[in-house]
């Protein structure tokens, strides 16, 4: 079934940002060392199965904890365990296994019991293969809990990985097989694809291949930020709201990306553990904007060596320019959450009479710059604040752009004055989807998102409860 996804009020279309990753895939090369974190989420971690000096192979399980049913940790290279670093401060750091790579073979040992004609496998075996491969970051008893699967490729960020690349060639078929596999182990689940309008070819291809399936629909999504936010996607697609502080899985929804579905297919049919990730290199500060196939655990400095422009200071950001985390120091290892690395200029240059320029490349929500009227011109992108902090003038931009229909400047005013009470809750502070657009758009450069988050934290600390 082909559907139009109901869009939302507010939001912003980021258009024509320079340096979108092209649909080209290169192998990043084997890292000389990998760093595998044993923490699976904030509260749980797997136990190491190896010790210092052990020889491991690519795809070997080096940490698991079946008692708490967490998906296992893998080595992504053939090599020797160099160290097991236990954290000095367990609150902030995670235990990490360091493995030195010892040979240049790109072979990955397959998991036992896989079958290319997967239909013959029983659901229990399929579940075991998916669990062992680490393809899905879901609780293991997912098959009972999950009633809805959303596969989202909404491409609404300023930079997006290329879906054309991920579903290249046979991968479209594999992707659909992957969905069939998921349906087999979760027979009661409905599957929904949310794909950005720009991917016309992919939408029509998938529609052709899946039109006969009554449990699957394809939603065409506007590429308006933050369409990918679960708090907006779920109400639009399923008319379900996520309560503040819970995850989609808590209300029976699995939120997946196309790459994960293909990983499921590969795990079940060819036994491939999920130890390679496609990472897009986006942004104007890369010499080439391409995609890299990266072994998990590889440190950033090895992957990015020689790939960054060196003529100006660069800031690296993970996944999203709006809410992504800054990758400082280039040492953090790649994990499953990486889908793109964005490099933009860390621009501390002071620009002469910046506010008087016509601004044919300056992106703005307002029409105050020429760029607004020349949508085909590539925008400039850097980390400069583009203006001094000023008092709020109630211009209303944050309120208009907010996809959650709250009034950020009103909330921020309360939080700044330390008025933390029911008023904040009644003004729906907990409806915030944390998309960061309010901070982005503010002409007075006020950190509205930070104030809202601070307000939420203080409210919870003072014992206020969120009304559902």
């Amino acid at each position: 079934m082909l559907k139009q996804l109901r869009t939302f009020k507010g939001g912003f279309k980021f258009k024509n940002y320079p340096g979108q990753a092209k649909p080209i895939l290169l192998f990043a090369g084997l890292p000389s060392r990998i760093f595998i974190s044993l923490a699976k989420n904030s509260s749980a971690e797997v136990k190491p199965l190896v010790k210092k000096g052990d020889i491991v192979f690519a795809g070997q399980i080096i940490g698991r904890d079946d008692a708490n049913i967490l998906s296992p940790a893998y080595s992504s290279v053939n090599g020797i365990v160099e160290d097991i670093k236990l954290p000095t401060d367990p609150q902030k750091e995670n235990p990490v296994i360091v493995i030195r790579s010892s040979d240049t073979s790109q072979q990955i040992r397959p998991l036992g019991g896989c079958l290319s004609s997967w239909q013959k496998l029983n659901p229990e075996k399929i579940k075991e293969l998916i669990f062992l491969s680490g393809a899905l970051a879901l609780p293991v008893d997912f098959s009972k809990k999950i009633t809805q699967i959303i596969i989202q490729e909404t491409a609404a960020e300023p930079y997006n990985h290329s879906l054309d690349l991920i579903l290249e060639g046979k991968n479209t078929l594999n992707f659909i097989e992957g969905i069939n596999i998921l349906k087999k182990i979760m027979p009661s689940a409905q599957v929904h694809l949310a794909i950005s309008r720009q991917n016309k070819r992919i939408i029509s291809e998938i529609h052709k291949l899946t039109a006969h399936l009554d449990w699957l629909d394809v939603c065409i999504a506007e590429s308006k930020y933050p369409q990918g936010s679960p708090q907006l996607l779920l109400p639009a697609m399923l008319k379900k709201k996520i309560p503040h502080g819970s995850s989609p899985a808590d209300i029976g929804v699995a939120l997946l990306q196309a790459e994960e579905v293909i990983a499921v297919y590969e795990a079940v049919t060819s036994g491939k553990p999920f130890i390679e990730k496609i990472v897009a290199l986006s942004g104007p500060c890369f010499k080439e904007n391409i995609h890299l196939k990266v072994r998990l655990g590889a440190p950033l400095n090895e992957i990015l060596e020689g790939r960054l422009k060196t003529d100006e200071p660069v800031r690296l950001v993970l996944n999203s320019l709006l809410i992504g985390q800054e990758l400082k120091g280039m040492i953090s290892p790649v994990d499953k959450t990486y889908s793109q690395i964005i490099a933009i200029a860390d621009n501390r240059e002071r620009e002469f009479l910046a506010f008087l320029r016509p601004g044919s490349r300056r992106d703005s929500y307002s029409g105050a710059f020429l760029a607004h009227w020349l949508p085909w011109v590539k925008k400039s992108v850097d980390t400069n604040q583009h203006g001094e902090e000023r008092p709020c003038i109630s211009c209303g931009y944050c309120q208009e752009i907010c996809p959650a229909k709250i009034i950020p400047h009103l909330l921020a005013r309360y939080v700044r004055k330390e008025i933390i009470d029911e008023a904040l809750i009644s003004y729906e502070i907990f409806n915030c989807v944390e998309c960061g657009l309010c901070s982005f758009v503010c002409p007075s450069k006020i950190h509205l998102l930070k104030h809202i988050q601070e307000g939420q934290k203080k409210l919870l600390a003072e014992g206020y409860h969120i009304k559902a």
């Binding site: 300023p158 800031r315 950001v317 320019l321 709006l322 809410i323 992504g324 985390q325 800054e326 621009n347 501390r348 240059e349 002071r350 620009e351 002469f352 009479l353 910046a354 506010f355 008087l356 601004g359 300056r362 992106d363 703005s364 929500y365 307002s366 029409g367 105050a368 710059f369 760029a371 992108v381 850097d382 980390t383 400069n384 604040q385 583009h386 203006g387 001094e388 000023r390 008092p391 003038i393 109630s394 211009c395 209303g396 931009y397 009034i407 400047h409 009103l410 009644s426 003004y427 960061g436 901070s439 982005f440 758009v441 503010c442 002409p443 007075s444 450069k445 950190h447 998102l449 009304k467």
Partner: protein
């Protein structure tokens, strides 16, 4: 650019050496910020909109440029002196407060300092401009804590103060505009011209309706910046299209004012002028596009904006028709400014009550 950079640097070092001069640091900071953008970088989000308050205010000034140019044409080069006095004295007041408060100088004044002279009669004495703008900035803005905290539009506070304090000069002394040739570009002031009356005065006293073409293209008497109405409309539309001002207040104001005057005109023919005349006379258009929309002093809720616009139209027509004053738009805006917090809080209560 390098010269400016060196100049600013020298001034900073001068300020650093002298304890007394150091108090003027906010002025130099402001100057520095005007010439050079910020070197601050974002945290999260990593990118921000290029629009800042400086650009925001610059856009309003750009939108007013045709009006300013036309006003020089109609009233002579003296207009430039009036604007200069307004900027200088208003700016000094702003700076004085910044120094005493040890805060930065803010950009909001750039707009106030330009709008204020535009709502004064062309013959206004220069000393009065200074008194008015100082009063407006102090009691309209700084008394409340500066930009962003004021309840009233400072330009209107200054103007109303002058109207109340010097009613004769402010309401009788009207010049006739220059017309033809180079107009006022080559004259300081239209001294020979017969002192005439504004369309609103003519209607109130003699029941004369000025032709709408004269009112639209500026060849009628009135305040410095309110008569070139075609330019005001163009500037207002420009601001709406660039999203600097919200369309709701101008739209509702410009619909409700003629609507109420239509109703009024049917019942009180002698007091209330017909709709088209109301729309094109006095400071209504300038007020609707450039003053009622001041984001700080108008309601921030959308419904509140509709309410404010309707109130503005109604009050303007009522004050024009039934009070001792001929012009009602300024008073209407001031009155609605008073109600803004109330309107907002009622709208918020309505919107968030049920949950």
């Amino acid at each position: 650019m390098k010269i400016v950079k060196r100049g600013v640097k020298n001034l900073y070092s001068l300020l650093g050496k002298n304890k007394y001069l150091n108090k003027f640091r906010p002025v130099l900071n402001a100057l520095d910020e005007v010439f050079f953008g910020t070197d601050k970088v974002n945290t999260v989000p990593h990118i921000t909109d290029h629009l800042d308050v400086k650009r925001f205010m610059t856009m309003v000034i750009i939108a007013l440029a045709p009006v300013v140019l036309a006003s020089v044409y109609f009233w002579g080069l003296r207009v430039l002196a009036v604007i200069a006095v307004s900027y200088i004295f208003g700016g000094l007041t702003e700076v004085a407060f910044a120094i005493v408060r040890k805060k930065e100088v803010h950009e909001g004044f750039l707009v106030t300092g330009l709008i204020f002279p535009l709502i004064l009669p062309p013959a206004v004495p220069l000393w009065m401009v200074a008194v008015g703008v100082v009063f407006g900035v102090i009691f309209g803005k700084e008394a409340f804590g500066g930009t962003g905290k004021n309840i009233f539009n400072p330009a209107i506070v200054g103007r109303i103060f002058l109207s109340v304090a010097f009613p004769r000069i402010m309401s009788v002394n009207w010049q006739a505009p220059f017309s033809g040739g180079w107009g006022g570009f080559l004259h300081y002031q239209n001294v020979d011209a017969v002192v005439s009356a504004t369309p609103l005065v003519l209607f109130k006293n003699q029941d004369i309706l000025t032709p709408w073409m004269d009112m639209l293209f500026g060849t009628s008497a009135g305040c410095i910046g309110e008569t070139f109405r075609i330019g005001i409309i163009a500037g207002g539309l420009f601001l709406i299209l660039t999203r600097i001002i919200d369309w709701r207040i101008p739209l509702t104001f410009l619909i409700s004012a003629p609507l109420f005057s239509l109703i009024g005109n049917t019942f009180f023919h002698a007091h209330l002028a017909p709709p088209a005349f109301q729309l094109l006379s006095g400071g209504l258009l300038l007020g609707a596009f450039f003053m009622a929309t001041d984001p700080v002093t108008c309601p921030f809720t959308k419904l509140g904006k509709w309410v404010a616009g309707i109130l503005l139209g109604m009050l303007t027509v009522l004050i024009r028709g039934f009070s001792g004053y001929v012009e009602g738009a300024m008073f209407a805006i001031l009155l609605v400014n008073v109600f803004t917090p109330l309107i907002d809080s009622v709208v918020l209560k309505l919107r968030y009550k049920t949950k």
